[in-house]
């Protein structure tokens, strides 16, 4: 190491938008972590392709209430993408940042650490929306019905994003370490995916399970999206359930959040 005088200020300061550089940097970090790309992006896309290729899945089935198996699983996979990114990966990354002192380090600069949360939220939201769009295109290409009530479909998806983000932020707020965040993420993942219908699709659930599913965030999400696929406006109850999770979890997270 040679020691000279320190460099002088850059002559022509053209300050790039710090937030966008932060978001781009975090986006690169996301792409560099093979695990998150594999689980949030590749796996659901591969799953919808496989479902589409299997011949029997394209035909409407009476046991699924007139939907084809592909149409049943399409919204479930869409839920999976948001759940995986917002509830499993986002809290792990953010609690890791808190544990390692990244948020503290940021607190000493003119850019408040809240921007990092914003950048992370933007990335996982973006991943969710892009991958869900890919799933929609592939499933439609394989003959699944496209959402006829498109505005309702988009609204439902955005509310799913908000609800999962709220749950993820609540986990980030309460988990003291990355390990605990991972454990809480998994403990949330399985029940929520169950009530979304991953193992027993909603049309095959008995009335007790389906009622619980109606009040679970992803059950409500599947219900809202399936309604828009069949050309209806999503049921208000489902949209309210999603909005409720987003508001309650988000508010609790904001109250409980610790920067260090």
């Amino acid at each position: 190491m040679t020691t000279a005088v320190l460099p002088t200020p850059a002559p022509a300061p053209h300050r790039r938008s710090a937030f966008w550089l932060l978001a781009r940097t975090e986006g690169r970090l996301f792409l560099r972590s093979a695990g998150s790309v594999l689980w949030t992006a590749l796996l659901p896309v591969v799953a919808v392709v496989v479902l589409g290729i299997v011949p029997g899945t394209r035909h409407a089935s009476r046991s699924f209430g007139g939907l084809s198996p592909l149409e049943v699983y399409e919204p479930i996979l869409m839920m999976y993408v948001f759940l995986m990114s917002a509830v499993n990966f986002l809290p792990a990354v953010l609690t890791g940042y808190r544990e390692k002192g990244v948020l503290r380090r940021l607190s000493t600069t003119p850019v408040p650490p809240g921007r990092l949360l914003g950048a992370q939220g933007l990335i996982y939201l973006g991943v969710g929306i892009v991958i869900d769009a890919v799933i929609l295109v592939i499933a439609t290409a394989f003959g699944a019905r496209a959402p006829h009530q498109f505005a309702g479909f988009v609204l439902s998806l955005l509310l799913v994003a908000a609800a999962t983000m709220g749950i993820g932020m609540l986990i980030t707020a309460v988990a003291p370490t990355e390990k605990i965040a991972n454990a809480l993420g998994l403990a949330t993942f399985f029940p929520l995916m169950f009530f979304a219908g991953l193992w027993i699709p909603r049309p095959s659930m008995n009335s007790v399970l389906r009622t619980i599913s109606d009040y679970s965030p992803l059950g409500a999400g599947v219900r809202a999206i399936q309604a828009s696929t069949t050309g209806h406006w999503p049921p208000a109850a489902a949209l309210l359930v999603l909005a409720g999770y987003a508001i309650v979890c988000g508010a609790a997270a904001a109250r409980l959040f610790r920067w260090e």
């Binding site: 190491m1 020691t3 200020p9 550089l21 940097t25 390692k100 990244v102 380090r105 000493t108």
Partner: protein, 304 residues
């Protein structure tokens, strides 16, 4: 008229629950000064600088950085204050160049990060991920991030902990060059050699209080510490001839080496006596009191 102090701390008080981390700390740092905070582990050093940098809210007292309140005038302070924290990592997959580019975008007038990289000897690591850097390289990157915004004041906490001796010396040179540019530096350390080399003044903190505040030289000089003189005599010499000297307190032997302990004038007296006896002192060494001794004397005095 003296210029306004860059950092002012008056009767700082901070508690964590029932535990008092900082009881009563006051000091002020002048422009262009390197001011050291010394103290044993758990003395409240880090809490003090965390309050100064606005990361923690003080429970009592008055804090000013460049005349601004570090908590209330957050925006004004962070723009001019660079902070290097203990235990503060970066995302493991973030590359060195990306980190510097990102952090330089946070400031209005950043330093040229490529030059800073070269100054800190991290040029070859520009594409290396944080997790692949050595401890010393991570530390240097951390210093670079504290300096990237061209701060007027820098707070450096445990700057050279974990660095090898060569890297430590290089870092000291770097800090001196930063100061030469007019940056005021608040340095937390537990290396006395570091404080002795770098600091214009030091505050010794123990159990949340300032127990001494002076230049390193004054702290050492004030100390009434004995001289320890070691040598190997060229010919046998009777211990009594030395121990009878009024300046000498004790004489002992370890193998062929003689150890004489005495007051400030003991060396002259011993040298004169040896000359009279026609004995030459081989491998002569005199241990002078150092800041280490001063630090131990000050902090142990507090405990008793």
């Amino acid at each position: 008229m003296a210029s306004m102090p860059v950092i002012e701390v008056e009767q700082l008080h901070k508690r964590y629950g029932d535990r008092t981390a900082v009881a009563d700390v006051s000091f002020s740092v002048n422009e262009g000064e390197i001011f050291g905070i010394l103290g044993p582990n758990g003395a409240g050093k880090t809490t003090t600088v965390e309050c100064v940098s606005g990361l923690r809210k003080a429970d009592g007292g008055r804090l000013r950085v460049l005349g601004l309140d570090p908590v209330k005038d957050r925006a004004g302070v962070v723009a001019e204050l660079g902070v290097q924290l203990q235990h503060s990592a970066l995302p493991p997959n973030l590359r060195v160049g990306e980190a510097l580019r990102l952090f330089s975008s946070f400031y209005e007038r950043p330093a040229d990060w490529r030059e800073l990289l070269d100054v800190l000897g991290l040029g070859p690591q520009v594409g290396t991920r944080f997790s692949k850097l050595s401890g010393g390289q991570q530390q240097r990157l951390s210093i670079a991030l504290a300096l990237i915004g061209n701060p007027r004041v820098a707070i450096l906490d445990e700057l050279t902990t974990g660095l090898d001796p060569a890297a430590r010396r290089d870092t000291w040179e770097l800090i001196e060059s930063v100061r030469d540019r007019g940056v005021t530096i608040l340095l937390v350390t537990h290396f006395m050699a570091e404080a002795e080399r770098l600091c214009d003044r030091v505050a010794v903190i123990d159990s949340g209080r300032v127990v001494a505040l002076d230049t390193p030289g004054e702290l050492t000089a004030r100390l009434d510490v004995q001289q320890r003189i070691r040598f190997v005599p060229s010919a046998p010499i009777d211990d009594g001839l030395l121990s009878d000297l009024p300046e000498v307190e004790s004489v002992s032997r370890r193998g062929e080496e003689v150890l004489v302990v005495g007051g400030g004038d003991a060396l002259a007296a011993v040298a004169a006596q040896l000359a009279r006896q026609g004995v030459i002192a081989h491998r002569l060494r005199v241990d002078q009191p150092s800041l280490d001794d001063a630090f131990l004397a000050i902090t142990q005095h507090q405990e008793s």
